[in-house]
């Protein structure tokens, strides 16, 4: 899922201080699971902002839709949006942009910093796993991503800075290539990394687009 962290309160407060009626809009999917921008967090932010800005006569409204990255759900806001002169979105960066695209005349402000694509290690504890580089090598690296988990995104590690199983940048950060070595050794597949991995094709260097097979015609018609 996509993991996000709420922005510092003052930063959010300053963004909306010039407006009169502001909608705080949550997103019910990834950011709700990672406790950054679901309905609970919307209510918390509403309470904080109303307390801090109520004296300035700013009125806040709240809502949380299923997904801000889907037009179907954004459509639900079509009637309500007219009541507001700005929106605080608690969705990830993708959701915020789709919301802004749906209502181009409304200033939209982010209430979270979108952090990464990650996993749930425990309640409130998440770890990055994927940089969405567009050319996945997990098949040869034992299911451990060197682009994400190695601080230097090496394709032929471990480097000389590996520190008894930890990364040189932090004792608490495991060395991804040390783990890759261990896992491939366990599986008897070390020959996978004896070969030199060639320079990566960084497909994430321009705006990404995916059209699944069978949907090309449909996309053409819509364009």
């Amino acid at each position: 899922m996509i993991v996000a962290e709420r922005k510092p309160f003052d930063e959010i407060k300053n963004m909306v201080s010039g407006y009169k009626r502001v909608l705080i809009l949550g997103c019910g999917t990834c950011v709700a699971v990672c406790l950054a921008g679901g309905s609970k967090e919307v209510e918390t932010l509403n309470t904080e902002l109303s307390l801090a800005l109520g004296k300035d006569k700013i009125k806040f409204g709240t809502n949380t839709i299923e997904r801000q990255c889907d037009m179907e759900f954004l459509e639900e806001l079509d009637t309500e949006i007219g009541e507001y002169d700005a929106v605080i979105s608690m969705a990830c960066g993708a959701g915020i942009q789709f919301l802004a695209q749906r209502f181009p005349d409304k200033p939209v402000f982010p209430a979270v910093n979108t952090s990464f694509i990650g996993v749930n290690l425990d309640v409130g504890w998440y770890e990055e796993k994927c940089r969405a580089c567009g050319s996945c090598v997990l098949g040869i690296t034992g299911g451990i991503c060197p682009v994400t988990m190695c601080a230097k995104s090496l394709f032929n590690g471990p480097c000389g800075g590996t520190n008894q199983g930890s990364c040189e940048i932090d004792k608490d950060q495991p060395c991804a290539w040390y783990q890759i070595y261990d896992r491939l050794a366990l599986q008897g597949r070390l020959e996978q990394i004896i070969e030199i991995s060639p320079p990566n094709d960084w497909r994430n260097q321009k705006p990404g687009k995916v059209i699944q097979p069978g949907y090309e015609e449909r996309v053409k018609v819509q364009k």
């Binding site: 601080a151 480097c159 000389g160 520190n163």
Partner: protein, 307 residues
């Protein structure tokens, strides 16, 4: 000859190579750089010019390498993967070659977090292994990484680093083999203090036939103080300083610690002269360039052969 560099000639003639190192200034202080280099003149076959080492901004390695050349010392242009993408790397290799630089050392680079711009975006477009392959492709095939022809290819003598002391030890000689396969002509290792371990690593490199394909130069760093030894043991990732080194430094008169450090370094160099598969040593006298002539003298590597 692949490059015609002095180091390549020294190695080809079968001499025991002796290389040094110079860190460019934190500014445009050319005079300070010339003075550092002057200590090495005639005492080393080549001097590594570090590339923003420990991720601190310094005069660019190719520019400092040119000043080094003007002072009569052949430079080894270090290039890390942290600060440039593949376009900038190839451009700098062409530029360096055009100005007469003939050796390059291909490195990953310390993570930017260690330096004076920890907020910066680390590039790491390609890794050190892929950089070696790219320089070889430019030299031997006359092609850019992207495949286009180069109008007068840069003919570099290609260096790489190896750390025999980092875990997993079993993998280290295989990673060396990968660097050799990628195209490394010479290897400079991490500072050696654990002789037992490097003997074993060299034995494996010999067994795998790697020392016939690549010139290995173990790294030598004389300890200046007990504090330095402890710092390297405890704080520098990938460094292996055995307790006996620290005990030995502690066992001498406090005024003689630095001298003992040099003594240890010279003993190591003596052993490496005899060790099968070792082609020379790389002396990293960190901020101790003025001691290089004395160390070279005491290690019995002077005069440097003319080739």
């Amino acid at each position: 000859m692949k490059s015609g560099s002095n180091l390549e000639k020294i190695l080809k003639a079968g001499h025991f190579a002796f290389t040094g190192e110079v860190g460019p200034p934190r500014g445009a202080n050319v005079q300070a750089l010339r003075e550092k280099v002057a200590h090495l003149k005639g005492k080393v076959d080549m001097a590594n010019i570090t590339d923003n080492q420990t991720a601190m901004v310094r005069m660019s390695s190719w520019a400092a390498a040119m000043i080094c050349m003007q002072e009569g010392v052949e430079p080894n242009f270090q290039m890390v993967c942290r600060d440039r993408n593949r376009l900038a790397m190839q451009a700098d290799i062409l530029g360096a070659f055009a100005h007469g630089i003939r050796n390059i050392l291909c490195l990953s680079g310390d993570h930017q977090q260690f330096g004076d711009h920890p907020q910066s975006k680390g590039v790491f477009d390609i890794d050190s292994m892929q950089l070696i392959g790219m320089v070889k492709k430019m030299r031997d095939e006359g092609k850019f990484l992207g495949g286009a022809d180069i109008d007068i290819p840069p003919r570099m003598f290609i260096g790489a680093a190896a750390n025999p002391f980092a875990e997993p030890f079993e993998w280290r000689v295989h990673r060396l083999a990968k660097k050799v396969a990628a195209g490394a002509d010479f290897i400079q290792t991490q500072c050696v203090f654990n002789m037992e371990k490097i003997r074993e690593w060299m034995r494996r490199a010999n067994d795998m036939g790697l020392t016939e394909k690549v010139a290995i130069l173990p790294g030598i760093t004389p300890m200046k103080s007990i504090g330095m030894a402890k710092y390297m043991k405890n704080k520098v990732p990938g460094m292996d300083v055995p307790e006996n080194i620290i005990k030995r430094l502690q066992g001498v008169d406090p005024k003689m610690v630095a001298d003992e450090g040099i003594k240890i370094a010279c003993e190591q160099i003596q052993e490496f002269k005899e060790m099968k598969g070792v082609a020379g040593v790389h002396l990293m006298a960190i901020e101790w360039e003025h001691k290089v002539p004395e160390i070279a003298e005491r290690a019995g590597v002077l005069p440097r052969p003319e080739v």
